[in-house]
């Protein structure tokens, strides 16, 4: 027997099991994190049923059931073992002051799902859960009762949403445009002043146009106010589960649903609508509600700018190192150094970007080209250009390494063949080597983009903000505003999760943002892996 045991240990089976457990742990961690984000993120769009709890003290609670847990010891030391409590999202923040409520299971007398309750998504104060009492138009009751009110409400919501769209367009395009021109005029006048021609005819003309602009601005603001006034024309009086009434201008409503009355297809449709809304809308309520469009746009924009910067330089450097430089100790050392830069922490690049790009380069540009705007910095503060360049610098080693790998995989015979047929080195590079190495270049670029997409730390120093007033691209010349600050999915997560006043209410949005970010990053990585495999297959030695 002891002999068998010794043999069993000597066989190492035990060790193999520990190794297997390690793999299992890694897999469980990946799966767990992915599942956690998927469940929370995808569940966000689903119109959840509204439960009405009738409590033993006669009050009623209406809301979405979030989770149920065993009451921990620390919360109620006196309570008997094993009792549970449920967490309800009760909404109605303006009435209750909080969005969530814990309720002991023991206090719940019965649970129902009344089909007539509405979930109202509002522009302020979060969701409202309750019933419709009446709908008022211009101060008079237009419809009363839950069902009639519901029917009367639908066209009103459609109307205010159209009004909101108009107002937003007016605000953004027309008034924004006038503002932009006003600022241009102000800077032009200041420039003339700096040049010592502040009193000339040119300046007077500018002043005149500025006054005209200001008049137009006033007109448009009045128009906007008229539009906004129309939003408050209609109102709906709602009542919560206990009958507390709340008068809500219809202009406050984004959309209203009766989730308990919806069938699966309705819900799927609502799911799609919600999904689209998150991707295309502006954020509301300190980023905790509404959409993430500006962050998504900023991320894509920044990554595009970064690719434009990183691709040519990375490829040039790789071609130089592999094809042109004489292979020797210097090139070998340079290669090692470049490789290792990929391992330097991203925050270090952020520090460099802030010091070099923002303060040194940006500050100089401001002094030379934008002196009229000083002391307000133009390029001398963080912006999308500097963030992109910082990330480009951070990811250029990735592109160099991958391109070099791609070049190394191109069989020697190809080069020799091309040269033997009379091509110059440049021609052989462009016609033969580059096409063969293209998958490598693309792999590098995709890996660089994937790394840049998920990186946040350097951006925090070089131009990302929690709420950007304008997108980096708009209708004003020169259309692409590289000096502007921007929003980013990763920073959005950090900001919502850690700097938001109401973290609990922000959590669903954080999960959604995380889901979108992770989907983008993983898709990019998988395509890089696929490209790499494709490349390996193509240049397998046997194929030569």
């Amino acid at each position: 027997m002891p002999g068998r045991i010794r043999k069993f240990f000597a066989s190492g089976t035990l060790f193999v099991w520990f190794c297997g457990t390690a793999v299992a742990a890694s897999l469980l961690m990946v799966g767990g994190v992915l599942a956690l984000i998927m469940i929370n993120g995808l569940g966000f769009f689903w119109p959840h049923a509204l439960l009405e709890l009738h409590l033993t003290d006669g009050t009623r609670v209406l809301g979405e059931l979030k989770n149920e847990e065993v009451i921990p010891h620390s919360a109620t030391p006196a309570a008997p073992e094993g009792r549970t409590r449920v967490r309800m999202k009760i909404g109605n923040r303006d009435l209750y002051g909080l969005d969530f409520r814990w309720i002991d299971r023991a206090r719940i007398a019965s649970v129902s799902t009344p089909p007539a309750v509405v979930a109202v998504e509002r522009r302020e104060w979060g969701n409202f859960y309750g019933r419709i009492r009446r709908v008022e138009r211009g101060g008079r009751v237009a419809a009363s009762g839950n069902d009639e009110g519901w029917r009367a409400l639908q066209p009103l919501i459609a109307r205010v949403n159209a009004l909101h769209d108009d107002a937003a367009r007016l605000q953004r395009d027309v008034i924004g445009g006038i503002n932009y021109d006003l600022e241009d005029a102000r800077l032009a006048i200041r420039k003339l002043e700096l040049a010592g021609r502040g009193g000339g005819r040119e300046a007077a003309a500018l002043q005149a146009s500025r006054q005209q602009l200001e008049r137009r601005y006033q007109e448009q603001v009045d128009a906007l106010r008229a539009l906004s006034d129309q939003l408050d024309d209609d109102a709906v009086v709602l009542a919560d589960a206990d009958g507390r009434e709340l008068r809500l201008p219809v202009g406050q409503i984004v959309r209203a649903r009766r989730p308990n009355a919806m069938n699966v297809w309705d819900k799927l449709l609502a799911y799609a609508v919600n999904f689209h809304a998150v991707l295309s809308e502006e954020p509301r309520e300190a980023n905790t509600e509404g959409g993430i469009f500006p962050a998504l746009f900023g991320t894509v924009m920044m990554v595009l700018l970064m690719s434009v910067a990183v691709a040519p330089f990375g490829v040039l450097a790789a071609f130089y190192l592999r094809e042109y430089a004489r292979q020797g100790p210097v090139v070998r050392m340079v290669r090692v150094a470049v490789n290792n830069l990929a391992g330097v922490p991203s925050i270090v690049f952020g520090v460099f970007g802030l010091g070099f790009f923002v303060y040194t380069v940006g500050g100089t540009i401001d002094e030379l080209l934008y002196a009229e705007a000083l002391p307000a910095p133009t390029f001398g503060t963080g912006g999308i250009l500097w963030a992109s360049l910082t990330l480009a610098l951070m990811t250029v080693p990735v592109v160099i390494v991958a391109t070099e790998e791609g070049l190394a995989a191109v069989p020697r015979e190809y080069r020799e063949g091309a040269l033997a047929l009379g091509a110059t080195k440049l021609e052989s590079m462009i016609r033969v080597i580059l096409p063969c190495a293209l998958p490598g270049v693309l792999t590098g670029l995709i890996l660089a983009v994937a790394r840049a997409t998920g990186e946040v730390a350097p951006l925090m120093l070089t131009g990302v903000v929690k709420l950007a007033p304008a997108l980096p691209v708009d209708g004003h010349f020169p259309f692409l505003h590289l000096e502007r600050k921007f929003m980013h999915l990763g920073f959005h997560i950090f900001d919502m999760g850690f700097q938001s006043p109401n973290v609990e209410a922000a959590k669903p949005m954080v999960y959604v943002t995380a889901l979108i970010l992770i989907v983008v990053v993983i898709a990019l990585n998988l395509s890089a892996i696929a490209l790499r495999n494709h490349m390996r297959k193509r240049f397998r030695p046997s194929a030569v």
Binding site: G20, E81, F356
Partner: protein, 784 residues
Amino acid sequence: MRGASGAARRWMNHGATGVITVGGWATIVSVLGIFVYLLMETAPLFEAASWSKAASVDVDAGERDGVHPRHVGVGIDDSMTVGHVLRRGDVAFYALPSGDRIRPDAVPVFAPGRITAVARSPAGAHRYGLGTVDGRVIPLRVRYRVTFGENGRNVTPVVTAGEPVAAVPAAGASVSTAGAAVPTAGASVSAAGAAVPAVGAAMSAAGAAVPAAGAVARLAFLDGDDGTTVAALTASGRLFLTKVEETESLLTGERARDVRRVEITGARVGTLSALLLDGAGDTLVGGTADGRLLHWDIREAQRPRLMGTYDAGAPVTALAYLIGDRSLVVGARDGTVAVWLSMTDPGAGGDPRLQKVRDFAPHTGAVTAVSPSLRDKGFLTADAAGGVAVHYSTSHRTLFTIPGDGAPVLAAMLAPKTDGAVVFRDDGRLAVFDVENDHPEVTLSSLFMPVLYEGYDVPKAMWQSTGGSDAFEPKFGLWPLMFGTLKGTMYAMLLAAPIAVLGAIYTAMFMRPAVRAVIKPVVETMAAFPTVILGFLAGLWLAPLLETIFPAVVAVFLVLPPVVVSACVGWHYLPSRFNLPSGTVTELVACMVVLGGTVWVCVQGNQQIEAWLFDSNYRQWMLSTFGLEYDQRNALVIAFAMGMAVIPVIFSISEDALSNVPRHLIAGSLALGATPWQTLTKLVMVSASPGVFSALMIGLGRVVGETMIVLMATGNTPLLEMNLLNGFRTLSANIAVEMPEAPQGGTLYRLLFLAGLMLFVFTFLVNTVADVVRQRLRVRYGQF
């Protein structure tokens, strides 16, 4: 290119070669230039301070009488464009650097010879008290009004004099019955009266008649916002403390003046040679001609109380508090300069005590003036030989010394922005110096060694870069941040390294290729998780979860090894028809079931486990048993989250190293009869260990610099405890937290660059080591 002539093609070829070479090198140089730039931004921290003479004004020109009063005040405005000299009760302003006299509209003048002492108030930049021959003190304020006009910045000096304070009883100094305000007019007065002959001599030199015994000989003066405090030592050696409180009646708007005067008596009072009040009017410090420091509590105006007497080593000639009133600079006749700290015993409570903590480079002559900086813990000292030195207390540095030419310095001031100094010497000249002194608070030793900060009684390594007020002493100790970095790295690696390496061994050695082709990319996908997501999950999901199921987590670590052992044994002794070969999906699934089941059971039994292991309350238990506090965001959370980030890195590289061990070696080993286990330990691990090592190094490099996870899931408090259950602050998170608020070019800004440089150098070295090891490994495999 098609159809181009041979010459054009050649030309283009050459051109392209040039472009690629230049572009390639430009890219490489700019990438490597990061290091150079970081170094350039950091270097000024360690540059020595420097000075240069900016102007010299002959103050006596035109009114030279060859005799200089010894009671002088000098000052300079923020922008160093106007300086002033206060003597004989007259304030003279000079434009700098030209030296032209500026004559403001109204300057109060007091009869020459009546002023017998000048003291600068610790509150405000240019507030003086002028002690007169008849025992009064005249408050004088100099302000520089700044206006912006046609030709830029204009500085206009304004002088106002306040109502004189009777600092010495009017009845005559020699009369001991000084009224009710002097409850204990001591008998020691007459005995000590003769002990200040030097004062009398100075007075006569100033051209006055032999001063009355009631003349102010030494003066400490405080012109605060809610009142004036004066400590005056008369020519006859009596010390009077006067507090004037001005109150405005809310109803009538009438200003009421409450004057309280008391005589301070004591054995050494007559020998006082320097006096100092703090900025709040709470304490009075006196230095004596026999080398003692006397420390009074004067909060109760009627009852000054001597808190302590200390041996200063040499006759005290000059005293000053640094901003914040906790550090006392003591200058002595033998030229020594020392900083004393006011300390409060935490246990005993009671009075603060003074303790000498730092000696600075001594002067060649007696210290005649000390001028504290208005914005940091720097100060200027000047001596009787004309020498001037600037020191910094926290970093214990003497920044520079300006040699003198023999003429004693009568008064000196460090410019309000510490970028200059004005010095008035006995030769009647006002000298102005420019000072280049951007980072006085930094030395290598203050960065990395414990420093005795104000308010502490032992030297401490601390990081606390900003405080609420100007008087805050910044604490730039990088050690707590380095410690935090090491702590996070250590715990993360302790968790990640075994999982990653064991997993790599299993994947490379025991797994079927078909399974491996799936598993490896899945684990590598983990490497692509943006760390901000891991950080958010760690901070918002894992940290609260761990807080509730901490006992279960402890139990998992305790229970898992025996469970795995028994599962393995059980699997081994299954009837052979179930006994599948190693490396299959089934075995992996079995492992997952064992692991997942253990975790599940422990989490379900969390309350029972807490009851068994931790007496039903793990926080209480940890605190009473080990003295450990449990923070929600702690190193354990970080270990899991950073483990997530780094496991795939280590896993992937070590798996590559292991599976690159030449197949024929393994086949040979197995063919010779070695078991797979023997093959692994004796052959594969031995030859692949450098690869595994380099994987660990690269993982280490990644953990050290990780920012977002640490930023989001630790409390970011710079603690110095190795405790697994509380937070820390790392170098990288510190950069992310403080960089946005750090003013460009300031000390904090450069220190954050230094932190960045340290991370850069560390990770670069670690990665280079890993790279070299891997290169050698590749060469070795090539030999088989």
